[in-house]
Symmetry: C2
C-alpha cells in the first residue's frame, strides 16, 4: 500500500473516525484505525463495535486532487499515535507506505515515522446493509431533530431501552422520541418519496450524539437504512453504522395530556435566561427546583429559595395567560434543556394543574413537543 494525500483532508477524516474508537474496547484491533487504499480513493475506519464509522476520501473530486500515486492495500495503525502524528507533520502532503511485513512509513518534508502496523485482515468486516431499502432527508433537518430530542434520554442503565431515542417512520412521518421518565422530547417531520415504514427502532443516544458531531452541514442529504439490529446513515463521504437497542420502547403517546387548564405564551429566550438565573441558587438542592407563579393576566414570577444561601425572584411580562391561576415547581435543568430545543421566539406552555405533566410547543408549530413532570414541593 502506498499513497500521497493532502494532510488537511486526512486530518478531518481521522477526526471523524476517531469518534467511534474507544481505548477501552475488548477487541484489541479496534484500538486501531483501518486504512484502505483503493484505486479511486482512501477509506479510514474506526469502530467500538457499537458504532462504526467509515470516512472516504476520493482521489479526485470537483477537479481537486486529494490523493496521488495510489498503490492498493490496507493496514491498521494505532489510534493512540496516528492522529497526533498527522496533525503535527510539517508539510501539506503526507506519504504513507506499508511493506509486506506490516511496517508503515509516514513521510512529510524531512520527517519520517516508522510504525508497526497490524494486519487489516484481522479487522472485523463492517456488516453490509441493504441500502435499497432506505430513505433520504436533509442533513440540517436530521441534526436539528437529534438536538431537540437526544438530551432527554436516560443516563441510567436501570432501564437500558430509555438510553436510546425511539425512531419511527409511519405514514410518511419520521418521529424521534426520547424520555428518561421525568421528561420527554419529541419531534416529527414529513418524509416524502418513500414507501418505507418502521417502528420500535431504538438508537443509542450516544450514537446520535456522535453522529451529530460529524455530520457535515456542507453536505446536503443523508441516506438512512434500517435493519433488524442496525441503522446506517450514509453521505457521500461518510458511512455511519450503529447497533440498535434490544427491547420494546414504552408507549409514550398516552403520557401527553390532551387538555390544559392554564396556557402561557411567553418569549422563549426571556423565560430561559430568567430560569437560568433562578437556578444559580438552586443548584445545591435536589433537581435544581424553581417555582413559577402566575400573577394576573400577563405576569409570571420565577422564584427559587435555598435556605442557607438566599433566594431569588424575577418577574416576566408574558404575551398571555389563559385559564386557572397556577403555582408549579419543576427542575430548572429540564426546563432549560427543553426551552433550548424549542428553537422559536415564542413558546406556549400548557399546564393541567401543579401535579400533572406540562407540555411546551413553539407557537404555530406542532412538530416539536417537550414534556416535563413537575416536582412536588409541599
Amino acid at each position: 500500500m502506498k499513497f500521497i494525500i493532502q494532510r488537511d483532508q486526512l486530518i478531518s477524516s481521522v477526526q471523524d473516525v476517531m469518534k467511534a474508537i474507544s481505548s477501552r474496547t475488548v477487541i484489541p484491533i479496534l484500538t486501531g484505525i483501518k486504512i484502505e487504499a483503493k484505486k479511486h480513493g482512501i477509506s479510514l475506519t474506526g469502530s467500538d463495535s457499537d458504532i462504526s464509522i467509515e470516512s472516504y476520501i476520493p482521489a479526485e473530486e470537483d477537479d481537486v486532487v486529494n490523493v496521488e500515486q495510489i498503490e492498493e492495500g490496507s493496514i491498521v495503525l494505532q489510534a493512540k499515535y496516528f492522529p497526533d502524528i498527522v496533525k503535527k507533520l510539517p508539510e501539506k502532503t503526507v506519504e504513507i507506505e506499508c511493506d509486506e511485513s506490516l511496517k508503515v512509513t509516514i513521510r512529510s518534508g524531512k520527517a519520517e515515522f516508522n510504525l508497526n502496523g497490524q494486519d487489516a485482515e484481522e479487522y472485523p468486516q463492517l456488516p453490509k446493509i441493504q441500502t435499497d431499502n432506505s430513505f433520504e432527508m436533509p442533513i440540517d433537518l436530521l441534526k436539528s431533530m437529534i438536538k431537540q430530542t437526544v438530551f432527554a434520554v436516560s443516563t441510567m442503565e436501570t432501564r437500558p431501552i430509555l438510553t436510546g431515542v425511539n425512531v419511527n417512520l409511519t405514514n410518511n412521518t419520521l418521529s424521534l422520541v426520547a424520555t428518561d421518565s421525568h421528561r420527554l422530547a419529541s419531534r416529527e417531520v414529513p418524509i416524502s418519496d418513500t414507501n418505507i415504514e418502521f417502528k420500535n427502532v431504538v438508537v443509542p443516544g450516544k450514537s446520535l450524539n456522535e453522529l451529530n458531531k460529524i455530520l457535515d452541514d456542507a453536505e446536503e442529504k443523508v441516506e438512512i437504512s434500517v435493519t433488524n439490529n442496525q441503522i446506517l446513515f450514509r453521505t457521500k463521504h461518510l458511512y455511519f453504522l450503529s447497533r440498535l437497542l434490544d427491547g420494546n420502547y414504552p408507549e409514550t403517546s398516552r403520557l401527553i395530556p390532551e387538555q390544559s387548564k392554564t396556557k402561557i405564551q411567553v418569549k422563549t429566550k426571556e423565560l430561559l435566561s430568567t430560569i437560568d438565573r433562578a437556578s444559580l441558587l438552586a443548584r445545591e438542592e435536589r433537581n435544581n427546583v424553581v417555582r413559577l407563579t402566575t400573577q394576573g393576566d400577563n405576569l409570571i414570577e420565577i422564584t427559587s429559595n435555598s435556605p442557607e444561601v438566599g433566594n431569588v425572584t424575577e418577574d416576566i411580562t408574558v404575551h398571555s395567560i389563559e385559564g386557572e391561576e397556577l403555582k408549579i415547581s419543576f427542575s430548572s435543568k429540564y426546563m432549560i434543556d427543553a426551552l433550548k430545543a424549542i428553537e422559536y421566539d415564542e413558546v406556549i406552555i400548557s399546564f393541567t394543574g401543579a401535579m400533572r405533566p406540562f407540555i411546551m410547543r413553539p407557537v404555530d408549530d406542532d412538530s416539536i413537543l417537550q414534556l416535563i413532570l413537575p416536582v412536588r414541593t409541599y
Copy 2:
C-alpha cells in the same frame, strides 16, 4: 452599604480576586469575597492566606463613571454563588445593597437576589506592607520574565524550596531563577532608579502563575515591595500579595558550565517543532527521551525510538555546528519548555559532552539562560 456599579467592571474584578480563592481553605470566611464600598470606589478581596488579591474599581476614572450612589460599608459574600450571579444578570448595571442584619440584595433589571452575607469584620486584615521600600518595572517585562522561568519550578514537595522562583535584586539587576534539579531557567533584567537590594527571596511558583494571569497588559507599571515573608505587586487597580517560601535557595550559578565542546546555532521554531514531533512516539517512555546527533557541519538529526510503537527520524539544517561531534539524549518535554522560553528566532546550544548539562541562550542575548541535564541512555 449600597452602590450601583457597571456590571462589566464588576465581572472582571470578581474574576481577578477569584484567582486567590480556594474552596478547600481551612478558614471558612476565606471561601467568600469581601466587598468594601468607600466614598471613592469599591474594593473586592479574595485570599487563600498564601495569596491575597485586592481589586479596586474607582467610582470615576478618565471621565467614565463606574460606580454611583455609594453608601459606605462592607460585607463578605459566598464565592461559590456571587461570580455566576454577576455574570448572568440581565442589565448593564447592578445594584448591591446590604442591611444591618447582613442580608444582601442584588438587583439588575427585574431580577432580585437576596443572599446571606457574612460580617466583613471577621475577614482577616491584609498585612500592610511598607511600600516606600519598592521598585517599579514595566508589566510586560515582568510577565515575560515569569513565563521564561516559572515552568521550571519543581512540582514535588520533597524539596519545597524548589517549588518557588528565586528572585534577587543586586547591582541594579533583577534575576529570576527556577530549577527542579533536572533543568534550570533563568532571566535577568536591569532595573534603574533604585537603591534596593535583596537576596534569597523565593516566591511560590503558583503565586507567579496566578499573578501572570491577572496582570493587565493595558496598565504600564507594576510596583514591587519585599518584606521578610511577603512580596507585594501593586498596580493602579490591583494589590497582589504572596507569602514567600522559607529556607535557603540553593546556589545555582556553579551548575552552569563555563566552557563548551560543541556549539550549535539553529532556528528555534524549527528545532521546537521537530522535537515536538519526535516526542509523539516517546510519550510512553520515562521522560519522553529524544536523541540529537550532529551530522557534519550543518545538519543535526533528531530521533526517537519506542520499540513497541516504532521510530521517528528528522534532519534539520542548522546555521552552524562548532566543535566536537555529539550524540546526546534528553527529555523532549524539558527541551520544548526551554525552547518556548527563548523567544528569539535563533538559539545557541552549548554542550560539554553527552553526560554534562547543556545550556541554551538566544543569539545576541545573554539575559536568558536555559539549562537541561541530559539523560543517560546506554
